[in-house]
Amino acid sequence: MAQLTLEKLNKRYGDAAQVIKAIDLQVNSGEFVVIVGPSGCGKSTLLRMIAGLDDISGGNMYIDGTRVNDDTPSERGIGMVFQSYALYPHMSVYENMAFGLQLAKLPKDEIARRVEASARILQLEPLLKRRPKDLSGGQRQRVAIGRAIAREPKLFLFDEPLSNLDAALRVQMRMEIAALHRRLRSTIIYVTHDQVEAMTLAQRIVVLNRGNVEQVGTPLELYDHPANEFVAQFIGSPKMNLMPATLMHAGQTETILQLWNGKPLTVPIGTPASAEGTKVKLGIRPEHIEWGTVADAPYLADVLFVEHMGNETYHYLDSGKLGDPWVVRNSRRSDIAAGETVGYVLPPEHCHLFDESGNAFARHATGNGASRTPGIDAPPITFAEPMRTNALH
């Protein structure tokens, strides 16, 4: 399996928009990398450039150290799974999987061996004579993957492969793809807009926004130490709450903030070389906000509405900004109702801090790591709420 290196990779259309801006990325042999970002961030374009379907405007791309900028898709030795599956409708499943091998002029028995081998891996054997239109969505997806496997590519590219499937099938196929990667140990680059897919599948995630790489890291790195506001809000659902604050005292390991409501808060985040009075944003994930009693809790808010998911409950608190409420997620059922006023607590070790341009100050706490000390810094909890055990659902 192959190693992929992108060096200052660029894509521009005419003189106008630059959709991919000098991307550097190294994908190691056998690694499962997920490129994630909102729609229009350039992630599909980047994948198509890697595939050789779109031209590279600038920079270099290497597969195993060989520059492949000017190679055709098949010369690059990639296998690709398309969002729409792109199965040839006039060919049987077998023919779909054999097509590339026939074009490569492989001997017949070798083609049969490879097609049957990949059909076995994906349990497609009973379907080999069918045509794509007689298959279900999940089966088509498997054929598309099988077609890529049969070519024995150096690099697998997946372009939003699960977005056409229903929710249950998506979860199932997600597991199948993960199992496939464990089995084939192949290098996989997988593009999705769904951060849940990214979190569950990736060994490393590349967060892409407007053609720029915002951050590269393991799923939990991104979750616990987002490099900036964008990553913080993009990874995790519901997204991280951001609250306006002002720096009162900047320190190497600790910072004292004045929150939007005038209350002070000390967080274990170093803000060296920052001036007092600087505007910052305090970030905290929905599952990290804790309830306090109305009498004692430092912060009060009105509950706008409550969503009961069964296994968890989302509370939307009035942030003072219309349409942008803060969310509190409890992993238990709650009897808080819309319209109530609640008191809540922001545990400092779970806080994130972003400067005005959105970049994060480095955190010392791990977020859900060993530093947590339930019951010591938390005020009386009105709803028995061991939410921290459920940091990641």
Partner: protein, 336 residues
């Protein structure tokens, strides 16, 4: 009361429904079921179209068939005698008569088939090229698509007259061009020369009908999702292989429909040939033959017989096409 099928049921359970069954039966007498009313409405709605179709297609066809068994003349169609199949084929004094014994008929059949084969295959070839070109994105695409329709929008008579001038042996632009380029040394008599006149007809027809073929094929091409081509590129297919293995099989159904339309049209060709080459035997088509018998010779019976043969030929070939199409579909279904 004999309850054959219901004998297993307790009689108490069977008895009550009896009066209830009578009620709906009465109701259907007054009021038809929804399905019946829908069927009635459907027939009412299609009736005008059916009547019109019978009046303009069915009735003339029946009359033509009728006259083909008579010796009626064009000016006195009400005076006729039945002559059986004599207009088609008759033996008298050891000689054969009738349309099927006329060498000119067979000449016309040959001309028509030759014309159909040549023009339709050239149309398919050039139509495919144009469709593939128009399917690509380029500047001025809309203009090209509109411009391509012009030949098709021009009436056939105008086309024929125009090409007649272009093919003119002394003043025509075709000869002028060929002379300038040096392909010929003396002007060619495109219309008068029997070996050339059919080609003149074919060229004019191809020019006129390529847009139709191109648009039919373009519509089919645009139904093919672009990611199939991308998948094929990933699979290592060259441009020709993509056309041969992806495009062609996927536009085949639309191509067959377009071919049926064009073949049926070409088999019935009359006006283009009649205007471009008038009564030349070198180019006479079966429709032209029928017109000649009926109008020039006033032989209503023979003309009708020729018309019936034209109809049978066109219908037969169309049926073959449809049968092949269905057969190939069934083959596909069976393969699944």
């Amino acid at each position: 009361m004999s309850h054959n099928s219901e004998s297993l049921l307790p009689s108490a359970a069977v008895a009550p429904p009896a009066p209830a069954q009578a009620a709906p039966a009465k109701a259907t007498g007054r009021k038809r079921s929804l399905q019946q009313r829908r069927a009635r409405a459907a027939w009412l709605l299609v009736a005008p179209a059916l009547i019109l179709l019978f009046a303009v297609a069915g009735w003339p066809l029946l009359r033509t068939l009728f006259y083909s068994f008579t010796d009626a003349a064009m000016d006195t169609p009400e005076e006729y005698n039945f002559v059986g199949l004599a207009n088609y084929l008759d033996f008298a004094d050891g000689e054969r008569f009738g349309v099927l014994a006329d060498p000119l008929w067979w000449q016309a059949v040959g001309n028509t088939l030759w014309f159909t084969a040549c023009s339709v295959s050239l149309e398919l070839f050039f139509g495919m090229l144009l469709a593939l070109l128009m399917n690509e994105k380029f500047r001025g695409q809309g203009l090209v698509r509109a411009a391509i329709l012009v030949p098709w929008a021009i009436p056939t008579i105008v086309t024929a007259k125009m090409w007649g001038w272009m093919f003119h042996d002394q003043y025509g632009v075709i000869n002028d061009l060929l002379l300038r380029v040096g392909l010929i040394e003396t002007p060619l008599a495109w219309i008068a020369e029997p070996t050339l006149s059919m080609w003149a007809v074919v060229i004019a027809d191809v020019w006129k009908t390529v847009p139709f073929m191109a648009l039919m094929l373009l519509a089919a091409l645009q139904m093919i999702p672009s990611d199939l081509y991308e998948a094929a590129r990933v699979d290592g297919a060259t441009a020709w292989q993509r056309f041969r293995r992806i495009t062609l099989p996927l536009i085949m159904p639309a191509m067959i429909v377009a071919l049926i339309f064009r073949v049926m049209d070409a088999l019935r060709v009359f006006d283009l040939i009649y205007v471009l080459t008038s009564n030349s035997e070198a180019t006479i088509s079966i429709s032209g033959y029928a017109r000649e018998q009926m109008v020039s010779f006033q032989e209503m019976g023979v003309g009708s017989a020729a018309s019936v043969l034209v109809f049978m030929m066109v219908a037969g070939i169309a049926a073959c096409f449809l049968w092949i199409n269905r057969f190939s579909h069934e083959g596909k279904e069976a393969g699944q």
